[in-house]
Amino acid sequence: MAQAMTAALDHVLAIDPAAVLLGEDVGLSGGVFRVTDGLQAKHGVERVIDTPVAESGIVGAAFGMAVAGLHPVAEIQFLGFAYPAFDQVVSHVSRIRNRSQHRFTAPLVIRIPYGAGIGAAEHHSESTEALFAHTPGLKVVIPSTPADAAGLLITAVADPDPVVFLEPIRSYRRVRGEVAEPPTSVPFGEAAVRRPGTDLTLISYGAMMPDVLDAADQLAAEGVEAEVIDLRTLVPLDLETVLESVSGTGRVVIVQEGHRTCGFAAELAASIQEHALYSLEAPVARVTGWDTVVPLRRAEHQYVPSVARIMAAAQAAMAGV
């Protein structure tokens, strides 16, 4: 997936003269995950910019650049280091269109690796996408495949509004797949049905998708055909595809790595029962990370939803409890 993103960024820099990348170590060293590898050498230090260690400065400067007419792609090294920039994101980036009633806009992308599963240090394993989804004025994108990562990134840079682009760390190297050259753009607000099914709806996104698909395979072996939906963008949300599936299955399991309370699964569960209560054959189940700090390497497996936990929830849903 990382390579697909590099190709997408390369493409964007080539076709959009207003595009610039900035962030800590994105240039000379190619970024902590090498997503921007080689791009400074190819496109120059004016367009691939190494910044001081200052996340609020990175986002705030990118905001100003965007208002001036550039299409900045800012990188924050890990989601756990995005919080120093939170005020810029919430109070400025997400609002300038509204506070100026379309007069000024901030078409910037904030790329942020997120999620656990590589045994990293503290603050390197967060999945707090809900914080951005709760913030009006942001689009929130989380790809799960290389083609989507590239295609959604191209859409993000071209989008007239600010986009928080969350990249699943554990998929960077592990998830592979074909990507067109140049990558084809993927629209926002269209969930992908990754697997058709009639018995149960499994909904997830980003880093959890491989495990969700594994669980679906195992369920199939048990005779349960799960429809698997990959949301791809949390804002805008393709609730239609979700509701269509639920109207057929009546049973739903939502899988999310983030903390449980007020996570995105809560939003989905609330929305599903709002619209489809009478088709539900079982409670909408949430399989989530806990309301704990993400544990470090030795206990990380206790936190991230496992295939076993997804299976247990699916079986409970099939049993109607």
Binding site: E46, A54, L70, N98, Q101, T105, V235, P236
Partner: protein, 343 residues
């Protein structure tokens, strides 16, 4: 501290403006004072939400912007109406914002002034990004950002200054040190002797000027803008001034400072000073002044009228500027507000 125009109207250095320019800037300060007085009055009548007076800070704002080209950027705060207006932001927009209407934040095309920043500190880096972006796009525009002494304590001030230093962006940081951040006096805001000297920590020039001296501010701003435009990088200017009024109309300065301070600073009024200078040069008359005041008052009344004539955002219009195109979620929410079922 750079001082050119003395409180008694005499010069302690070279005037940076011709007499005609000086008269034009004097007129601007008179307009600003008129706006300010009306702003406070309107708030008392309940026609504005809160209002933040900048009385006493006219020279700092007008002098600062005097150095800009029409297409340069201004990124300022809730207290910088004079600076914003000088750069083309209509009085009507400023009033409109104060009534509590988002459309106040939308100046005409071509006016490169962001809506006033209400959060303290975050906007300075926007000026850095704007200047950087303009530079990147091959334009020689400069960005000037206005902020207070209190704002220098926020982390974002530091990051903005540091980015400007490292990337050598064409920005002018203009701090109006008006001695207070709400109730907190300058000496409790930072242990630094001056604010100007903070520039040193970022490898940029810092200059302290008498902020009630139109000529000193104008000269310093011109130097900084010229340098920035020529690729010489950023500058920090500390304009030492005083907030003569309350923090906002919701504030009571009697709780935290002695009235004598205000009385003392009123002696150094920035407008009076230019008046004395022009008067000594035979260029000021009471009639001219009355004309200026009358013209300003009329113009500002028109602006108030425009602002108040605008109907509030209609039902559901609060959803219209969240994105270029509304998401399905916002569409649905708008539907609920407009009386549809709560689904």
């Amino acid at each position: 501290m750079l001082e050119i125009l003395q409180p008694d109207g005499s010069l302690a250095g070279e005037a940076p403006f011709s007499v005609d320019e000086t008269k034009r800037l004097y007129a601007a300060m008179v307009s600003a004072r008129t706006y300010d007085t009306k702003g406070t009055a309107l708030q008392k009548q309940g026609r504005l939400a809160t209002y933040a007076s900048f009385e006493g800070q006219e020279a700092a704002q007008v002098g600062g912007v005097s150095a800009l080209r029409a297409d340069d950027w201004v990124v300022a705060t809730y207290r910088d109406a004079a600076a914003m207006w000088m750069q083309g932001y209509p009085w009507a927009n400023l009033f409109l914002g104060r009534t509590g209407d988002e459309r106040g934040g939308s100046p005409p095309e071509g006016v490169n002034v962001l809506p006033p920043s209400i959060t303290v500190g975050a906007h300075m880096i926007h000026a850095v990004g704007l200047a950087w972006g303009e530079n990147h796009l091959g334009r020689d525009r400069v960005a000037m950002t206005f902020f207070g002494d209190g704002a220098t304590s926020e982390g974002d001030f530091h990051e903005a200054m540091n980015f400007a230093g490292v990337f050598h962006t064409p920005v002018v940081f203009l701090c109006q040190n008006n001695q207070y951040a709400i109730s907190t006096p300058r000496h409790r805001q930072t242990a630094s002797e001056t604010i100007a000297q903070k520039a040193d920590a970022y490898g940029m020039p810092g200059l302290q000027v008498d902020g009630n001296d139109l000529f000193a501010v104008g000269a310093a701003a011109a130097e900084a803008v010229t340098r920035a435009r020529a690729g010489g990088g950023p500058t920090l200017i500390e304009a030492v001034t005083f907030r003569v009024g309350p923090h906002t109309t919701a504030d009571d300065p009697g709780r935290y400072r002695d009235e004598s301070e205000e009385v003392e600073w009123r002696q150094r009024d920035p407008i009076d000073r230019v008046r004395r200078y022009l008067e000594a040069a035979g260029e000021w008359t009471a009639e001219w002044n009355a004309q200026l005041e009358a013209a300003a008052s009329a113009e500002i009344e028109v602006a108030i009228g425009q602002a108040e004539a605008l109907e509030p955002l209609g039902p559901g219009e609060i959803f219209d500027a969240m994105f270029e195109t509304k998401t399905p979620q916002l569409d649905r929410q708008r539907g609920i507000l407009m009386g549809g079922p709560d689904e």
